[in-house]
């Protein structure tokens, strides 16, 4: 059993690196999209608000697989051909971004409006108000949901194998074909996922314990 893992460790390692790269890029993108869409969603301009809620509804109600296929094959048919990895990173970023926008919006709304009113009463402008009052309080309530999103995003990278990104789950699938040792191949990937995600969960719980508002 151990020989299996020592022999195929390089494959797993390559897969893990691809998965990690995909996670970092897509999650960064998701954060950027999330902030923009959440900003649109709380803005006083009606068309921006409807655009944002349309975006969120669209990505929340469509399976990730369909998003990937539309982005890869569908957009490819329009004459924009990108490689599997960039497509996967952008599609996953846009998908997680819709959830991220909801998390950020709920974080902003969780700050009591009295706080902002008090800020305005002492003459803070929009940006100082955000920086000094709203964001420090909002961040604390969104740590836990962002942690959950990160974990969900990490697990969703596996779907990228459908457009032939050679990430961790793809590797275990490939090893099944090559070695015919099904359970060993699958468990190798499962253990790597479990170790990384339990660690990530621990990190976010620690952050939450440290920064979350104690009531």
């Amino acid at each position: 059993m151990l020989e299996f893992y020592t022999e195929y460790w390089p494959d797993y390692w390559d897969g893990t690196l691809v998965t990690l790269r995909l996670v970092v890029i897509s999650f960064t993108l998701a954060c950027i999209i999330g902030v923009i869409i959440a900003g649109f969603r709380v803005s006083p301009v009606p068309p921006l608000r409807s655009f944002a809620s349309g975006y969120v509804a669209l990505f929340r109600n469509m399976p990730l697989l369909v998003v990937f296929f539309l982005a890869f094959f569908g957009v490819g048919d329009l004459g924009f051909v990108f490689g599997p990895f960039p497509t996967a990173a952008v599609a996953l970023g846009m998908y997680t971004g819709a959830y991220m926008a909801e998390v950020i919006r709920s974080g902003i709304n969780s700050v009591s409006s009295g706080q902002a009113e008090a800020g305005r009463a002492i003459g803070l402008g929009f940006i100082p108000l955000l920086r000094e009052i709203v964001i420090p309080q909002a961040v604390r309530t969104v740590i836990a949901p962002i942690g959950n999103l990160f974990i969900a995003n990490f697990k969703n990278t596996a779907v990228a194998l459908t457009i032939s990104v050679f990430e961790l789950t793809y590797i275990s699938r490939k090893l099944i074909n090559e070695t015919a040792r099904t359970w060993l191949s699958l468990l190798g990937a499962a253990i790597i996922y479990t170790v990384i995600l339990l660690f990530a969960g621990w990190v976010f719980r620690t952050l939450e314990d440290r920064y979350a508002i104690k009531r």
Binding site: M62, P63, F69, S106, R120, V159, L198
Partner: protein, 340 residues
């Protein structure tokens, strides 16, 4: 406009919003025109490419995929609820071995991708000599994965009940199962119904992953339907997306409706109470219900701020429950350490 960031606008602010509205509408029209133009020049808007979707035989084939999706989702849901329920009780058990096994199961299936679980259900069972077919494999994988998720929802639902409920039941001499059946579960289940429906919506999205093992759900059928070669990737996936969107959207609406009804019947705060389970769709559900309540209040001519206040209080209560759950988790850990 009820947002913490923006106060009632004055005349200058209103003028600025008007300008921004016009500009954003213009930008939107230009972008839309660009997309349509690009689609047109790429030849994606010709009738020939969309015509296959007006042929009844093709549509019937696609809708057959929808039936398969719903079948797998329902089967998986029923079994995951039953199994998830036992794992929740197991995790709350006083027996350390039972608790440990349940924790291991739940944490394992919560931290692997669903696709890996699907491969286990298909190739793994095949390697074990069980050739059960795509449907059973998919359902087994979905059940393994979702029973772990649901068991956390159940656990949070049970934990969110007041401790006095258990104590009262014990005080009048109820044993474990009667107490569960008569006192705890009826209350916990009612609280959890919206979250369960929301999970059903997520689950029906996840059925699409059955694609990788050849299960004939909508995506697979969208690739293999008779008119596929006349249409194209773009058209097929747009139609598949629309089919899934309608299904999931309806389930999400149902979850939201249940959540709202739950709140007005004032038996706790529904999904908000089990936020601790940490499921993005469910958290979003309680958010949406918040917004819908405020809108409804404004429509009735009431003061929306009062609704927001009561929601903040409810959320405070829910967070308290979440904190209790976390404390319980810590308690579990400490007790385990104490025993070692």
């Amino acid at each position: 406009m009820s947002s913490v960031l923006i106060e009632e606008l004055g005349p200058r602010g209103k003028a600025r919003v008007r300008v921004a509205t016009i500009i954003s509408i213009l930008v939107g029209i230009v972008l839309l025109a660009l997309v349509v133009w690009k689609l047109g020049t790429a030849g994606q808007l010709t009738w020939a490419k969309w015509e296959p979707f007006t042929v009844w035989a093709n549509l019937e084939f696609l809708l057959g995929g929808l039936v398969n999706t719903i079948k797998a989702a329902l089967a998986a849901m029923v079994f995951s609820i039953i199994i998830g329920f036992f794992f929740a009780l197991g995790r709350l058990s006083r027996n350390a071995v039972v608790r440990g096994l349940c924790v291991a199961y739940v944490e394992f299936f919560r931290s692997i991708p669903l696709l890996l679980a699907i491969f286990m259900g298909f190739f793994g069972l095949l390697a074990a000599g069980l050739d059960v077919g795509a449907f059973t494999s998919l359902v087994v994988a979905l059940v393994a994965y979702n029973s772990a998720v649901l068991s956390e929802i159940f656990r949070a639902g049970i934990k969110s009940l007041d401790k006095g409920q258990t104590e009262a039941a014990q005080a009048i001499g109820m044993r474990y199962w009667p107490m569960m059946r008569i006192v705890i579960l009826p209350q916990a289940v009612r609280r959890m119904v919206p979250a369960i429906v929301a999970q059903l919506a997520t689950l029906s999205k996840d059925v699409s992953l059955g694609f990788v093992i050849g299960y004939e759900e909508v995506v697979r059928r969208g690739q293999g339907f008779p008119g596929f070669s006349d249409a194209g990737n773009f058209q097929a996936y747009v139609v598949v997306g629309v089919v899934y969107f309608i299904l999931v959207w309806m389930l999400a609406r149902l979850a939201r409706y249940l959540e709202l009804r739950q709140r007005t019947s004032s038996i706790g705060t529904g999904a908000a109470a089990i936020d601790g389970a940490g499921l993005e769709d469910i958290a979003a559900l309680s958010e949406e219900a918040d917004a819908a309540e405020v809108e409804a209040a404004a429509a009735r001519g009431e003061d929306p701020d009062r609704v927001v206040d009561s929601q903040t209080r409810a959320r405070g209560a829910a967070e308290e429950q979440g904190t209790k759950l976390n404390e319980a988790r810590k308690g579990d850990r400490d007790r385990r350490r104490g025993r070692d």
